[in-house]
Symmetry: C2
Subunit: 253 residues, 2 copies
């Protein structure tokens, strides 16, 4: 709801396996939490198939609109791994084999080195490209301008993200706190809208839940100012009490 | 990879809670599997925040590009539930209170009926709007032209989807079969690319896995022709055997 001065991020999930339902994506939640904690809120995510035109279009739209774009998936050795040629095409560059990565892959794979594996040494040509270390499975990711190309396997995506996290220009950290109560959303909605209006710099979200067969509502306040979050949570808790519910506060930010 | 004559779907996930990492989305995987089984492959998904311009833009782009669009989230009673006004805006229509839904909500909530809850009776005005029954929590979803507006809570989204599934115009069902083996992706990649080229109507995906500390690869063949899938899986299994691994076939479609 609020307009913040923070840099923004977009997550671009590449892969037929997510769109077919074969694989449950786990990278968006991880990246969203970590980027949020760095003050770089994720403002959009897209899932695109292993189709060049779709990947190139999404890349070119999103890299103009957001401070950072993080892609996951499609950088392995098989024919369906087409992220790097797509990234290169989006930036109007050629694909080259990075000599340092080739050396590393040859050392790692020895006699099992082959053309398929050496595809993992490919990166877009030109300036503004830097490798992202992969401590888990050797083949690196890379950054090109404001786009970070990460693996799709969650453990590898996470390791790559942690390798680059210190280099990201974050904004003020985005904090959040929740307060839960056995009130119905419809009973708290009117007062909640007032509280949101009173605190436009805090995003107030409302999420119904069911616990022990009892309906309830979890209210989440999110923003860069801890004091405002505390005030919002206090007002919500007071409203819950007036409605006869005992508010349960989540940890203060 | 393959071009099919099937209708296509796009899933539009609406909600700050997914982009903040607070909530793990579970609706895409469900919708992707169900739509795939109906012969309506999901070709794109987007996650957008609770921001009018973002929702309207995504709706208008996606409803032109895909046969069907399924939205999830943002149709509850609170201030952050803005999906319906956004859908109406995307279609250039007004929001009206649907008399049948209002009656149903008033009967259900009795004295607890209020303006917030009656927001759940709102739908876009005009032709081509039909309600989607909600057997779980009363407030319905709706269809407007090729856009289906579903709840965000997974159990409710699923019930709503099953209510409309029989009305969807599916294509030939999309089948898939997997074959797993303790071979490395890089060792099977070259032959796999050949197999893909030999069977352009089957999408051949390759996904590494780690089981009992041993790396392996799961190959998934996906398409509308069961015989071609069987041939592809046979060729992959043969390749795995040549590489010294015992292929484990998933259930035949």
């Amino acid at each position: 709801m609020s307009q913040t001065p923070n840099p923004t991020a977009c997550v671009l999930i590449i892969g037929d396996e997510i769109l077919s339902g074969r694989t449950q994506d786990l990278n968006l939640k991880f990246l969203a939490e970590r980027l949020g904690s760095l003050g770089i809120p994720v403002r959009e995510a897209r899932v695109v198939p292993d189709v060049e035109a779709k990947i190139v279009d999404a890349l070119n739209t999103c890299r103009k609109e957001y401070t950072y774009v993080f892609t996951t998936g499609g950088i392995g050795p098989t024919h369906d791994d087409i992220t790097t040629p797509c990234v290169a095409k989006a930036f109007g560059r050629k694909v080259i084999r990075h000599p340092d990565v080739e050396k590393k892959l040859r050392a790692y794979y020895g006699e099992r080195t082959n053309e398929a594996r050496l595809r993992m040494a490919e990166v877009p040509d030109g300036d503004g490209v830097s490798l992202i270390e992969n401590l888990i499975s050797v083949a690196p990711g890379y950054r090109i301008e404001n786009v970070f190309v990460l693996a799709g396997v969650p453990s590898v995506a996470r390791a790559m993200f942690e390798a680059i996290a210190p280099s990201l220009q974050g904004g003020p950290p985005v904090y959040s706190q929740s307060v839960d109560g056995h009130v119905r959303e419809g009973d708290i909605a009117a007062r909640l809208a007032e509280i949101q209006a009173e605190h436009p710099a805090v995003a107030v979200g409302s999420y119904p839940f069911m616990r022990h067969d009892k309906l309830g509502t979890s209210i989440v306040a999110r923003g860069t100012d801890k004091d405002s979050i505390a005030v919002v949570i206090g007002k919500v808790a007071e409203t819950m009490r007036k409605l006869g519910a005992e508010p349960v506060l989540g940890p203060a930010p």
